[in-house]
Subunit: 216 residues, 2 copies
Amino acid sequence: MSEKVVLETPVLRKNDELAAQNRAWFAARRCTVLNLMSAPGAGKTTLLEKTLPRLAARRRCAVIEGDLQTDLDAARIRATGIAAHQINVNSCHLDARMIAEAALRLESESPDLLFIENIGNLVCPAAYDLGEHWRVTVFSAAEGADKPRKYPRMFHQSDAIVLNKIDLAPYCDVSLDELLESVRAVSPHAAVFPLSSRSGEGLEPWIEWVAAREVR
Amino acid sequence: MSEKVVLETPVLRKNDELAAQNRAWFAARRCTVLNLMSAPGAGKTTLLEKTLPRLAARRRCAVIEGDLQTDLDAARIRATGIAAHQINVNSCHLDARMIAEAALRLESESPDLLFIENIGNLVCPAAYDLGEHWRVTVFSAAEGADKPRKYPRMFHQSDAIVLNKIDLAPYCDVSLDELLESVRAVSPHAAVFPLSSRSGEGLEPWIEWVAAREVR
């Protein structure tokens, strides 16, 4: 893979420059940006569906949806009454250029809290700064307690980690204590929110954390 | 992303050449190779743990385990009495060069059925031919019925699709009929095996399919 490392370095350097520009552009508009990352099916969209209505009184929200195919997720977000822009990309991650373009489409909404739902992938998105202020990893308890140690980079870089679908743990032989230990081992600094978007259990501390985010 | 596409083309071309060499090398040794791909936590290792002992009387098996970090999976496979070689890579996918090197480590075992457990990632591994004869996507029903349409490439390229963790479907509001329809839409030609590695339900047809695989 030495070739690939050599080839990708300039791509990542250019991405970092664009991400810094994005961050300044968002800050000038007092728009706080959260980058939500996860494996496919960890429940990012459902988490947003449950979170957005409860933020509506306090923050003006908008969402950028990244997917390889379909606009199913943007349609789900719009059904909550929140502005959403879908981008479909032939890529395993979002990058700063895609966000620069998508942000312009939502500028007229003047959001003060912008969520970016990244491509479902627990590996590649971690390497691409989008110009966000806060990084969040969403993890499904059904994926198993060993995964944070096996895919440490995304967890390590996150400010917050949502342990979603905790209601499924008993049906998957997953120990929540073991999962929390695994998360703490790779990401001792992150805020951790065990919850179930489906049942609503544990949502409150997560929503309070999000509501308090500011540009940094 | 135009840069990235341009840069990756020679990498993929070289990979395809090495994959063709691998395929010939395996065929010369009458070793049938299956490439197992999935998102993180879909249950590839557990499926192998349940499958390998039931093949032992008929096939001489071995496993190449790909992970970013840890050798947890190879240890789990060895506990079943089957030879396993772990590779740890700083990459979002396995490639043909990694397999060429790993296959040499298992040559003395003379396997006639070699499983490759790819990195947990529903996007990138689909672009890299490893020199396998059969491609399998393992999907967890807990990931949601919409995912095959959202991540179609891996499903479309697979000879077989294992719909794992079907016992979780009722706890996730996932309709198996809808999931099957979604799979059929993107992959009408594949053999589809709904099963639960945990409960054992539906394992038999999958094991019969695997046992009958030959070099092609």
